[in-house]
Every structure is written in C-alpha cells, then in structure tokens.
C-alpha cells in the first residue's frame, strides 16, 4: 500500500488542505463561542425559578441529546428552505453545531455549578462577601475548575463533529479528502492527510486540557 502512496499529490494539494484546515478552525471556533453562550443561557433557564423557562430548556436539551447531529443538520439544511428561510450553507452548519453543542454545554455547566456545596455559599455570606465577590472568589473559580476538562472535551467533539458539514458541501478538512478522492482517485492520500490534520488539533486541545487542569488546581491551593 505504502509503495503506491503518492506524496506528490499531497504536496500539490497542500494549499487546499491549509485553506480547509483554517476553515475547520474558524467554523468550529465560531460554533464553540456560540455553543458556550447558548449553553450558559440554557443552563440559566434550566436552573431558574420559572417553570415555563425550565421546561423549555428541558425539552431543548433532551431533544438535542436524543437525536444524532447529522439528523439535526439535515433538519435545518432541508427544513429552513421549506420554511422560506434561505441561508448560506456555512451558516446552516454553524447553527446546527451551535444548537447541538449548546445542549451539552448546558449540562456540563449545570453539573459544575451543582457540584459546589451550598455550605460554600453560606460561608461566603457569613463572611460578609457581596454577591459579586462570592461569584468571583468562591463560585466561579470552583465551577471553572470542575468544568474545564469536560468543556475542552466537548470542544474536541465539536471540532470532530464539524466534519459532518462536508456532507452539506461546505469546504473544510473532510471535504478536502473527498475532493482528492473524486478528482484524483487518491482516497488514501486524501483521508490520511485529513486525519493527520484533525490529530494535530486533537493533541493540541488535549495538551491544553492537561495544562489548564494543573494550573487551576494550583490556583485553588492558594
């Protein structure tokens, strides 16, 4: 297999791969920001006093978690035009990714906040800290410490999930591999290069996850 491996084709397509690598980065980066925002809002709704808000957030989170991303992607891709809403493909893809990961982020943030024992907050009140001070010095540092690892884990999943956008013909890494397969019939060269680029992102995020956890534990000790 390897003697037939054509490195020249990979070099020839390297500019395309570079471009697509950047596309994957900004598509998933944009979706990540949106998903964390949606997650915070959905989590706040789920923990709120109002029953209506709670059940809206519950239905959103449960229905996203019980259906595959690909079905959600097609739901928006085929569904929005039939409602008369015409969006560029990349925006449809980002919306699907944001809504999908947003539900998971809501659960991660909720678990992080609920893991803080109520005694901590009571102790803060008893020490005369204001609400902002309690948030800043007691709740958020601990919630962040609890959630940073699952949050980065979900970011890794998000980057990998962005590969599904190739199925609605958005130019990104996986699409580049498909192009190499259809234009040059070089699936090995195409998809192994694609996989290598994803692995770069994966190892970077994984290293960052380990580093941030160590740092946060270090800061907690002070």
């Amino acid at each position: 297999m390897l003697e037939a491996f054509n490195y020249r084709i990979i070099l020839e397509y390297m500019p395309l791969f570079g471009q697509c690598f950047l596309a994957t980065l900004w598509l998933s980066g944009l979706s990540l920001i949106g998903a964390v925002l949606v997650g915070i809002i959905a989590c706040a709704m789920r923990l709120s006093q109002s029953r209506i808000l709670r059940s809206i957030a519950g239905v959103y989170i449960e229905s996203i978690r019980s259906t595959p991303l690909l079905a959600q992607l097609y739901f928006f891709y085929f569904g929005l035009p039939s409602m008369g809403i015409m969006l560029p493909e990349w925006l449809t893809g980002v919306i699907a990714l944001v809504l999908n990961s947003g539900a998971y982020y809501a659960e991660i943030i909720r678990a992080g906040i609920q893991a803080i024992s109520f005694g901590q907050i009571e102790a803060g009140i008893a020490s005369g800290l204001s609400y902002v001070q309690r948030m800043r010095y007691i709740i958020l540092p601990q919630a962040l410490g609890n959630t940073i690892r699952p949050m980065l884990g979900q970011a890794i999943i998000l980057v990998k999930d962005s590969s599904l956008l190739s199925l609605i013909s958005i130019m990104e890494l996986t699409r580049a591999g498909q192009l190499l397969t259809s234009e040059r019939f070089a699936p090995a060269e195409g998809f192994l290069t694609t996989a290598a680029f994803y692995l770069i992102i994966y190892y970077l995020l994984k290293a960052f996850s380990g580093w941030s956890e160590k740092r946060l534990i270090f800061r907690e000790a002070h």
Binding site: E62, P68, Y74, L167, L192, L199
Partner: protein, 222 residues
C-alpha cells in the same frame, strides 16, 4: 399542500421502519462486538503489561482524535486499495465497532483503576492469582463505575450510526435523505427521523441516569 405531503410521508412509513431496523441492526452488532473488544482493551490498558498498555493507548488516541466520518471513509475507500473489498454494511459495522471499542476501553480502564488499591493488595495477600483477582475482586466492584457511562456510550453509538448513511447504508438518516428528495418538507421528514431516534435514545439516556443514581447510592451505603 402540507396535508398532501403528510399523507405521502405516512405512506412511506414502511420505508422508515426498514431504516429503523437497519439502524438497530448496525448499532446492535457493533454494540455486542464493541463491548467485548472494549472490555479486553480496558483490562489491557489498566494491566501490568507496559507495551500492551501503550499500544492500546495509542489506538484509543488515534480513534478519539479523528472524526468518525473520516474513519468510515478510510475503511470504506482505502481498504479496497490493499485488497480488502467491503460492502457498505460490514464496513459500517467494522467502523462503528472500532469506535465503540475505543471508548469502552477508556471507560473500563477508568473503572478498574478506580477500585481502591487495598482491595488488590488484600487479594494478593490471600494468594489469589492475577486472573482470580480480576474475576472475583476487581471487575465486580469496577462494574458499578463502568455501567452508567457504558449505557451512555450506547446512546452515542446509536447516534453515531447515523453517519454510516454517508457510505450508502440505508438507515433512518439515509431514508430521510432519500425521502426529502421526493417530499420537499425538510422539517416534517427530519422531524420524523428525529422522532425515531428519540424513541431509541431517550429510554437509554434515562436508563443511564437511573443506573448512575442507583450505583452511587449503593456505594455510599458500603
């Protein structure tokens, strides 16, 4: 117009049930195979053999670091290049089994490592061999930590199985994709697709949550 399409959709319901059966078949087969391989991998990963530990770890990283879509394309398009011709169905089962096994490996390894060290030491002191320890001391305790995320992994498996529609396996997602070409009501068609997935995944998610609550209560009682 909406009513007409709805009737059309109801008439293609048998087609959807066929897709549902295909999804169940692909995920069911991969579930059984992936669980077996995952347990073997997890025992190796938490075991004493260093080379085996490292090889299993590298394999897990490789699978976790790349999107499932790329893995399917590698199996479906590249293996024929080295003389292994596969139909779409076996290719899908192999890809899904491989993915599930790698995740279950991590779950099982984490469960085994979470068993307190004293248990092992006591077993060694009682003269149990390595396999006896695993069989009678470690695994029965580890299963409590393993079971909830294991069921959670099965939910992911069913959802990830939607991606095999990309290589032409006619599962629920593929049926939806084919139907939407004929009935251009994306929201309706993929609403039905989502509903079918929901019917499989929602009970599983609740089962996972139930197991988690139950297992924690048991372990705190001890």
């Amino acid at each position: 117009m909406w009513g007409f399409y709805f009737n059309e959709l109801m008439r293609s319901l048998p087609f959807f049930l066929k897709g549902l059966w295909m999804t169940v078949a692909v995920s069911g087969l991969s579930l059984v195979l992936g669980t077996i391989i995952g347990f073997v991998g997890g025992i190796l990963r938490a075991g004493r053999n260093k080379p085996a530990r490292m090889i299993v770890g590298a394999w897990v990283d490789l699978i976790r670091g790349t999107p499932f879509l790329v893995q399917i394309f590698v199996i479906f398009f590249i293996l024929p290049g080295i003389g292994i011709e596969l139909e779409a169905f076996p290719a899908a089962v192999i890809a899904l089994t491989n993915l599930t096994a790698s995740f279950i490996t991590e779950i099982v390894a984490a469960g085994i490592i979470a068993v307190p060290k004293g248990q092992r030491e006591a077993a060694t002191a009682s003269g149990l061999s390595y396999y006896q320890q695993l069989r009678f001391i470690v695994l029965p305790q580890a299963i409590r930590t393993i079971l909830p995320p294991l069921v959670g992994q099965y939910v992911l498996l069913v959802k990830d199985s939607s991606v095999v529609s990309a290589i032409g396996v006619v599962d629920i997602t593929r049926v939806g994709w084919l139907t939407v070409q004929r009935i251009p009501e994306g929201l309706m068609v993929f609403g039905l697709v989502g509903l079918l997935y929901f019917a499989i995944c929602y009970p599983l998610i609740n089962l996972s949550g139930f197991l988690e609550r139950r297992m924690t209560v048991v372990s705190t009682k001890l």
